[in-house]
Amino acid sequence: MIAELGHFSLILTLFVALAQGCLALAGAARDNAVWIAFARPAARAQFLLIIFSFATLGWSFIVKDFSVAYVAQNSNSQLPLLYRIAAVWGGHEGSLLLWLLMQTGWAYAVSVFSKQLPDVMVARVLGVLGLVTAGFLLFVLLTSNPFERLVPAPIEGMDLNPLLQDIGLIFHPPLLYMGYVGFSVAFAFAIAALLAGQLDSTWARWSRPWATAAWLFLTLGIALGSWWAYYELGWGGWWFWDPVENSSFIPWLVGTALIHSLAVTEKRASFKNWTVLLAISTFSLSLLGAFLVRSGVLTSVHAFATDPRRGVFILMLFAVVVGSSLFLFALRAPKVGMGGRFELISRESLLLVNNVLLAVAAGAVILGTLYPLFIDALGLGKLSVGPPYFNAVFIPLMVPALLLMAVGPVANWKSAKISALMKHLHVPAVVALVVGVGAPFLLGRWSALVALGLALATWIATAVVKGIVDRMRATRTGLRAQPRSWLGMHLAHLGIAVFVAGVTLVMGYETEQDVRMTPGSTVSTGGYDLKFLGVNKAQGPNYVADIGDIELSRDGRVLRLLHPEKRSYISSEMPMTEAAIDANGLRHVYVALGEPLADSAWSVRVYYKPFVDWIWIGCILMALGGLLAISDRRYRLKRRERKAALVAAGATA
């Protein structure tokens, strides 16, 4: 009964979403105040209805109602409560329900945090979001109903994929979806602006915090996925250029271009067409990512079931979204003016280069990800594109982007003088050169790539610190007096520097060994000694495990015991590796059990990963930078206050 209520509530949401989409857009077109006023309450109602649906599915998991097919497929009576709840989005149907929850949640947020916007604009944005929601609801109801019953009900469920029984799973999909879906808001703003024929800097200012918010969630989601793969898959890699990873990384690249291009549109009213195109592409690529991951065309942990109907439906949704928005764009784009002019050396030019590099990088990743699928679909054979391709393309494209990252924030809008840039940047340049050339000597082996990576990281970090200090001196104010969006930008750039340093040092100095260890034998890595003491059996809630005892020591001093595990899940008989990691912020010693060999020996993976934490710390800094930027009060100023603020700014200028 509970599950049927959830199903009913989904159907009800579909009608509300359709009504909202049609009425709000029609109302905005015909200036009908009543229809326009319908948008906000309808958005809130949808969110509440989806929360209800979501809760009923959660309830079915909590009470172990295996008569619901989805619960039976993704849960088990021995599964701990925490994972039973996380299992709500552990499979295809439930993760789409999560998607809907996010989608309506964003629309709810728009309806709440849009008091400073004209009602017509809000109606258009919410109308577009309502139509997107309706599209996904149709998808769920027609092809992936999570509330379907199983008759007769099985006594026991099949269990959640053991790979997904982990704290990482609980947060990875929600964060990633928040990002994916969040870009639908920036998309809706772009479409609303096209519909209204008002592509100006006001529009850019309205959509900027939303795009940044989506971007920060996507950043965190990708970082969490990478961290989870690192310790859960037991291979010790943090990025595999796997098509599934790529399908979240492509929207990230384009989304990063979007938040930079929005800055130009807001401040200088330039790049308007380009920004709209980026907003459309980012959301479209999020949909494409969803298609790739959900349709089962890719082989991965994310491909739950191969039902061709689902793939076709998402592809249709994708075609409708892309087709209609590009059509609208083609109709309206010629009327959009060029905006402010700018010189060859100016912040606009630098951001343009940033956008081109990011777009080309995204294109290269798309090529490497989709080409094998095309070839397969055309029946021309099966092939794959290896990580060396992505590295060979990505690194050369990102080097100039990183170089310019320090220059952009100190360059003036419209026209920048080279002498002024030199004045700002000679200190970072010298520091970067010294660190880049010198540091690898201290760390051991000198290599050109490490030198380059460290030089770039230092270049950015020094420029960020100098930029902030210079401004505080010039304005004689403290750190807290600076505009938050400006500080946020610098914090995010600092995050990139930390990330680059982490990647460089891991790639330059990591060691990976697969060794055979008998009890009492020792292996050393990165100056540490690991002594294999043996393996014991243990019983978990829904698995049995072999737990290794490995003693970590340095120069004869025992530091701690590491306990890597090899689990076998009872219900699915699926083996799982749980790595043991000793971390101290500067390096990881990573140990994973392989297989039992003869004479109570085991094969063991022993990895030494210097500075690997910095990769994720860098991502967290980027996300915090985004958070700081959207908390800037100028985004929340009421219309009247803003007018006053503008007058005041005009007076001081």
């Binding site: 082989t299 099966k382 391709y389 060979a392 699926m574």
Partner: protein, 148 residues
């Protein structure tokens, strides 16, 4: 410089950068394509020597032999029609087992032994990699058509 010249310089620079990037991308792309072959195709000599490719099928039951160093494993990959011997040094993925599907990436030696650099993990014990399914289907089709 006049405005028009500046714009020309900007466009020329952009085009040059774009051209270089495209050349870079396509070159790297060309040299990093990894093709997939079924055991039948490999024994027919269709697979390249000295170039990395992938082979997939089922691990022949009873064929897994661990060498004396403990880390090198030899096994046979079959699509039920032909068999390819494979050797791999390192730790196999959790779900590697006899009678299950496997995809190996590596190079074919002149002695007919496929030296795998990577053995690909599946994520689910019920899941058949599409490549392996393809290999089995192809082999099945051939045996049917071969019958008079």
């Amino acid at each position: 410089m006049k405005n028009r010249h500046k714009r020309l310089a900007l466009i020329a620079g952009g085009l040059a950068a774009f051209g270089i990037a495209t050349a870079l991308v396509l070159n790297a792309f060309q040299s990093n394509l990894v093709f997939f072959f079924t055991p039948t195709q490999v024994s027919a000599g269709e697979a390249p020597q000295e170039r990395t490719f992938r082979v997939g099928g089922m691990v022949q039951t009873g064929s897994v032999q661990r060498q004396s160093d403990g880390l090198t494993v030899k096994f046979v990959v079959t699509d039920t029609a032909k068999m390819i011997p494979v050797s791999y040094t390192g730790i196999l993925p959790d779900l590697f087992s006899e009678g299950k599907g496997v995809v190996a990436q590596g190079k074919l030696g002149a002695d007919g032994l496929f030296r795998a650099e990577e053995v690909l993990a599946k994520h689910d014990e019920n899941y058949m990699p599409p490549e392996v399914q393809h290999a089995l289907d192809e082999a099945a089709k051939n045996t049917i058509t071969a019958r008079p």
